[in-house]
Amino acid sequence: MEIIIVKDLVMRFGSFTANDRLTFSVAKGEIFGFLGANGAGKTTTMKVLCGLLKPTSGSVVVAGYDVALHPEKVKRNIGYMSQKFSLNDDLTVTENILVYGTIYGLGRAEIGKRTDAMLERLELTQVRKRLVKTLSLGWKQKLAFSVATLHRPSIVFLDEPTSGVDPVTRRRFWELIYEAAENDITVFVTTHYMDEAEYCDRVSIMNRGQIIALDTPQRLKQAHGVESINELFVRMVR
């Protein structure tokens, strides 16, 4: 089943075309790597998919809703996390979860139940009363990811979630992503770590507002005769 269907998406800002007739789709439960150079138009596409920007033209259906017509319904069905915006540093772990759950209209009892389950799973139970700013970056990122999926969205958007995270925690983070995918949550992720691209079911590479490659990492490497996605990326984007 296709959970994201993008057809001929064009996004223009004045005379600048950020997205030029993008067409792609993402299947339910898929881990989709959204790669591209800085300024290639990735952020714009993410904003359109999240219902924050109305496309100039083309159709974008996310979780069964047209983003141009029902952005609010789209927002209810997605989760979002980035390196820059995620948790409130001055609140405790549980307070952060409560705030987030309340925004998505979950009841207190339900939030409590999900909080316990989540902290148990992340082995964070002993720090539940700690202020988020006292946690290490790795813990924060894991917590932020779990919070972004607290309301059990059908898709979660991750914008450079592992930027600057240490190599061990970075990989632990990806194991969380696998777990989410196992639970049928679609993961739409951007990253500048090209090794992480290899962990995706499919990756797309974007350059100058257009998607210039889209397939499984395996097939992309074979088709272009390269050893790694990093090599492919440098070759295609340069």
Binding site: A37, G39, L137, E160, D166, A181, D195, F233
Partner: protein, 302 residues
């Protein structure tokens, strides 16, 4: 020549740097490799006289970083972690401003920055805020170099920058080094370590393994196995459950496995995984890469 001796620095109860010592040689491209929060920025702040260490001292060509801060500030070029040029000023105006701060004219040292700057020169009249990530880094580097510093200090110049721009940036650093500038670069990208003359790992305020990247790889005695199987996503966890495993993490399209024992064989690992119902198991020894070394070093430290 930079000598860092027994630096300690705490913020309240947090120990940011713990007895840090290392040396950087003349005209070296030195990499400080470690994750966010490892203490890289604090170390840099002390290095360039912006902070006083609680104990220990830093000498840059004999200048003490606390006492001789004025002299030090004339010979360093510094690029902080986040983009911190003036977004409302144009590319040219930013460069002009930093030249004036150091009392030089842009033309004097243009040759040094030419390789970097010529990529952004066509956008000279554009406000710096309107540049893409990679171009911003190039401008920041140009500004940090315009007075021809003896020491260039770059704090995570490539974080959040795409793979292509990162490669170009490192190419630029090589030309800078050829011009005789000593450079210290902090980065969380382990693959960039291989591009440095020598590196130091930093984690939780501790420095270890100061050496050339080649030697660090050579010195790693653990055997590393690259494991592939049909179930790549559950494989890291399964590998970690094997007896005698030190670390197992995804590396691109394989899982890298480091064993505690030095005599572990690929065959037995394969057999054990098959017993755990893995299919299409493939195990082979590979040469460790820097990231393996980092993970192992951190594990050993604990």
């Amino acid at each position: 020549m930079i000598k860092v001796r027994n630096i300690c620095k705490s913020f309240g109860a947090v120990r940011a740097l713990n007895d840090v010592s290392f040396e950087v040689r003349e005209n070296e491209l030195f990499g400080l490799i470690g994750p966010d929060g490892a203490g890289k920025s604090t170390l840099f702040h002390i290095l360039i006289s912006l902070m006083k260490p609680d104990s220990g001292d830093v000498a840059l060509w004999g200048l003490d970083s606390v006492r001789d801060y004025r002299a030090i500030r004339k010979i360093i070029g510094y690029m902080p972690g986040k983009f911190s040029l003036y977004e409302d000023l144009t590319v040219e105006e930013n460069l002009q401003f930093f030249a004036s701060v150091f009392g030089v004219r842009v033309e004097e040292n243009y040759r040094l920055i030419e390789d970097v700057y010529r990529h952004i020169a066509p956008f000279g009249k554009r406000p710096a805020g309107k540049l893409s990530g990679g171009m911003k880094q190039k401008l920041a580097l140009s500004c940090a170099l315009i007075h021809k510093p003896r020491l260039l200090v770059l704090d995570e110049p490539t974080t959040g920058v795409d793979a292509v721009s990162r490669k170009e940036f490192w190419d630029n650093l090589k030309t800078v080094r050829q011009a005789g500038v000593t450079a210290i670069v902090a980065t969380p990208y382990m693959d960039e370590a291989a591009l440095c003359d020598r590196i130091a790992f930093i984690n939780n305020g501790h420095i270890f393994s100061v050496d050339t990247p080649q030697n660090i790889v050579k010195r790693t005695t653990q055997r590393i196995f690259a494991v592939r199987a049909a179930n790549m996503r559950t494989l890291p966890a399964l590998c970690r459950s094997l007896p005698g495993v030190m670390a197992a993490y995804s590396f691109g399209d394989a899982v890298h496995l480091a064993m505690n024992r030095h005599d572990a064989e690929a065959g037995e690992i394969r057999q054990q995984l098959i017993c755990l119902a893995c299919e299409k198991v493939e195990v082979k020894t590979v040469a460790p890469i820097i990231e393996d070394c980092f993970i192992i070093t951190v594990k050993n430290q604990k």
